[in-house]
């Protein structure tokens, strides 16, 4: 049944949809006007559906008798939730946006529940039926909603705890938590006497412990190594040191399996301390690699020697914009162990000047491969 109230809102939806489409076609599809009109249409539709659901909130249309016989259900706690939401929204406005969004969610959730609850209470004089109606209207939201909240709470608090403790104790806490959950499960399953009150106590204790630890951890922040890592950004290309010695972060755990073999223009080898290269399509070894300018080109480096090596590409020098200091330009691969490969993808925008030819070299090995960028 389409109720009169909902008709107005659906009408509004239709009108604003048409307006929005016209606006987009005639005026501008991308600006705020269209968004606003679509927003109007959406909210009209939402309110309309809500009105439909609650029959315009008017439960007493048909029979006075229902009103007379209506039995109030148990007192609702949804107003409290609603109020809590409002409080959170206000707090959020003053403090952090996360709290604000959380508050909005609680507000909407509480509001919807409250409305439906109220509506169902007046649906008939039969309490059982009213509960049935309420369940039909709301349980499709309640089940997944509560489940998602449960998942979110656990995942959030648990991750805060692990982020706060040291890297070594993370796994220990993890396994301990899992073991506790599992053991409690086994205990309850195997010992029937633990049911009832004990279970409740355990559950309450667990929730309090998790929430407490999580809140504490969230407030105390992440462990300082993580903060420092975020600050320093060890792995950024600007930290690369291309010498023969190992750098602390960049070369750490360097030997990586490479899977780029299908797309390399050339492969540079180090064998017995000497550098040589092979290029796709060339039958002989090459001492010059030509790559087009401004073109992303991958070069593979394969170390056949016992000691670790890295491939360095020298791309002349350039002025640093701010300071005016002339610096060498280039980049390099990680240190690579025996029979390991590394791939570098280069995009060189400028041809080399005569005085500063480009080249590939390997610190600690002899020979260089010329790099020509026509």
């Amino acid at each position: 049944m389409i109720t009169p109230g909902s008709k107005y809102f659906f009408g509004l939806t239709g009108l604003s949809l048409i307006a929005a489409i016209l606006y987009m076609v005639l005026v501008n599809p991308n600006d705020l006007g269209a968004v606003a009109l679509f927003g109007l249409a959406t909210s009209g539709a939402l309110i309309g559906v809500m009105a439909l659901f609650t029959r315009d909130g008017d439960v007493y249309t048909d029979e006075e008798a229902v009103a007379a016989n209506a039995v109030a259900g148990p007192p609702s706690f949804w107003p409290i939730v609603f109020a809590l939401g409002a409080a959170l929204v206000l707090t959020g406005l003053a403090t952090v946006s996360v709290v604000f969004i959380l508050g909005i969610a609680v507000l909407i959730g509480g509001g919807v529940e409250w409305t439906i609850h109220n509506w169902a209470d007046g649906a008939s004089s039969d309490r059982e039926f009213n509960e049935f109606a309420r369940a039909r209207a709301i349980s499709a939201i309640e089940y997944p909603g509560l489940a998602a909240v449960g998942l979110g709470v656990i995942a959030f608090f648990f991750s805060r705890v692990v982020l706060a403790v040291s890297k070594e104790s993370g796994p220990i806490i993890f396994i301990a938590v899992a073991a506790v959950i599992f053991t409690i499960g086994v205990l309850i399953a195997s010992k029937p006497f633990m049911k009832g009150a004990v279970t409740v106590v355990v559950a309450v204790f667990a929730v309090v412990a998790l929430a407490g630890a999580g809140t504490f951890a969230a407030l105390s922040g992440e462990r300082h190594e993580l903060a420092a890592a975020a600050e320093e950004d060890h792995y950024d290309a600007s930290h690369r040191e291309c010498g023969g010695e190992e750098s602390k972060h960049y070369d750490h755990l360097a030997n990586n399996t490479v899977s780029l073999r299908s797309a390399v223009t050339a492969t540079i080898f180090v064998k017995d301390g000497k550098v040589y290269a092979e290029a796709i399509g060339m039958t002989k070894k090459v001492d010059t690699i030509t790559i087009p300018r401004s073109n992303a080109t991958s070069v593979m480096f394969r170390n056949l020697d016992e000691e670790q090596h890295r491939l360095v590409v020298n791309l002349g020098s350039a002025k640093v914009a701010e300071t005016g200091v002339v610096e060498k330009v280039g980049t390099c691969s990680q240190l690579t162990g025996k029979n390991q490969e590394q791939v570098m993808t280069l995009r060189i925008p400028k041809p080399a000047l005569a005085g500063e030819p480009y080249s590939f070299t390997v610190p600690g090995a002899t020979g260089e491969i010329k790099l020509v960028v026509p």
Partner: protein, 212 residues
């Protein structure tokens, strides 16, 4: 992502068969429609995760910027989370077994335990993602970053949907609102859950252990 996964639920409980085929008429194979559908879905999911895993395998070493896989993987931690997920498969199968014995209390207990273990696994993944991000691996940093987060993120979404299904199933069982064969519904969600677990078995080996 969510849209792909939601129809799991649908298969699980859409049981029009008994009615549509008329009374007393068993299905041609003697098997349940829902279970057939679930297995087909899982067969299909093999190709979904296969594609994501292959993408990761192809791109794992392609790092222009930011960390390489073995530089940031925290194998002890991931080992624990793999172990937790594996054990949640045990608790899941216990739930199925209880449901087949029509023991609602125990079914619900094991469902809860499974969901809790799954939720801590997700917590672990939230931790891992946060830590990796702090160390310099963003979604857009490198091919490794994009393919790693896509693969494990997809898996994480599957686990999350699983947890939501488990927790709501508890509620639905408790309220007696289940619309089909209860044991079968638990079994179907169990199949989904185990599948998510075996995907992680593969991810754990191919993604985490092998590059080290």
């Amino acid at each position: 992502m969510a849209d792909i996964a939601t129809h799991d639920i649908d298969h699980a409980t859409d049981n029009a068969t008994d009615h549509a085929t008329g009374h007393g008429h068993h299905s041609s194979t003697g098997l349940s429609n829902n279970k057939l559908a679930m297995w087909l879905f899982l067969g299909s999911e093999c190709l979904l995760f296969g594609g994501l895993i292959s993408t990761y395998m192809l791109y794992r070493g392609r790092v222009q910027n930011g960390p390489h896989p073995s530089q940031i993987y925290d194998i002890p931690f991931t080992s624990v989370s793999s172990f937790v997920l594996l054990m949640s498969s045990l608790t899941m199968v216990l739930a199925v077994s209880s449901a087949q014995r029509k023991d609602d209390t125990k079914t619900n207990l094991w469902l809860l335990i499974t969901a809790l273990l799954g939720a801590t696994f997700i917590g672990g993944q939230v931790y891992e993602f946060t830590a990796f991000y702090r160390e310099g691996l963003g979604f857009t940093t490198s091919l490794f970053g994009s393919s790693f987060y896509s693969l494990t993120g997809f898996h994480g979404v599957h686990v999350s949907i699983g947890v939501i299904m488990l927790l709501s199933l508890m509620g639905i069982i408790k309220k007696g609102k289940i619309t089909g064969d209860k044991a079968e519904v638990v079994e179907l969600i169990g199949l989904y859950w185990h599948f998510v677990d075996i995907v992680w078995i593969i991810i754990f080996t191919l993604v985490y252990l092998i590059p080290s």
